[in-house]
Symmetry: C2
Subunit: 146 residues, 2 copies
Amino acid sequence: MQDSSHHHRPFASAIERLRAAGLRPTRQRLSLCRRLFEGGQVRHVTAETLHSEVLAAGVKVSLATVYNTLHQFTKAGLLREVVVDGAKTYFDTNTSSHHHFYDVEHGDLLDIGGEGIIIEGLPQPPDGATVERVDIVVRVRRPSRD
Amino acid sequence: MQDSSHHHRPFASAIERLRAAGLRPTRQRLSLCRRLFEGGQVRHVTAETLHSEVLAAGVKVSLATVYNTLHQFTKAGLLREVVVDGAKTYFDTNTSSHHHFYDVEHGDLLDIGGEGIIIEGLPQPPDGATVERVDIVVRVRRPSRD
DNA sequence: GTGTTTGCAAAGTGTTTGCAATTTA
DNA sequence: TAAATTGCAAACACTTTGCAAACAC
């Protein structure tokens, strides 16, 4: 059995998490923060999905603020941007090195833990280029019943 | 030394290539086709870059037609769409299974041949999902001299 | 109070579409 | 001539931005 002591230290509250990120705990940021991190599970959201989620919960936040907040969270290291689709931007609450299944039909993302994955045969990056990150996207199609 | 007899059979002409794809060889499609495939090298274009290229060469084509043509070529198997950036769509003349270096700074793409690459440890796709394609994107940063 | 954050609406970017005019076979 | 293709301009989806009002400390 593996220990999980390397998990991120759980924050006592969303306020604490925001403070640690150097962001004022405003009403809007608090509800977004709670929604993203307090379920305890990895989440994949777009600005739109997160926005309608908080709206449905009765919290008033503008879409522009959701966009801004997602980027602030990303810059602060709380989120990670995932590029799998030309149209929309996904944000992942899992910020550790890992990969993704992407359901091209429904637009669903599923994490693939980065631990067991080994890529063999990758050539050296060109010139003096430094590798920033290696992303694997497994594009899958789930048969839709029609 | 490896033989290269598995390369795509070279087409006598752009006309022939279009016919084989079931597309009428119009003036616009012909110049786009020539530009894409007659250099003999792998190319990575966006609608914008290809459009300004043909314009610069004195050929009159509308941007809308470039978009439509790129998608027709893709559907016909002449091109492959590459998703590396949320903003723009790249098209690759290399349609075989392979991967990419992506210069996040300059937006440049570079192919990584698919032959030597082995990914170990990928879990089974969820449910009855079928894998459509596995993409590796190595995001690199080339230091810009300032 | 002072600097930060918000919301709105407008602007921006890349892409798609409807349709009349043109071109191809 | 009949069917396919083009170009334009308008529509589109998603995202960013400018700025006055609201808010946090």
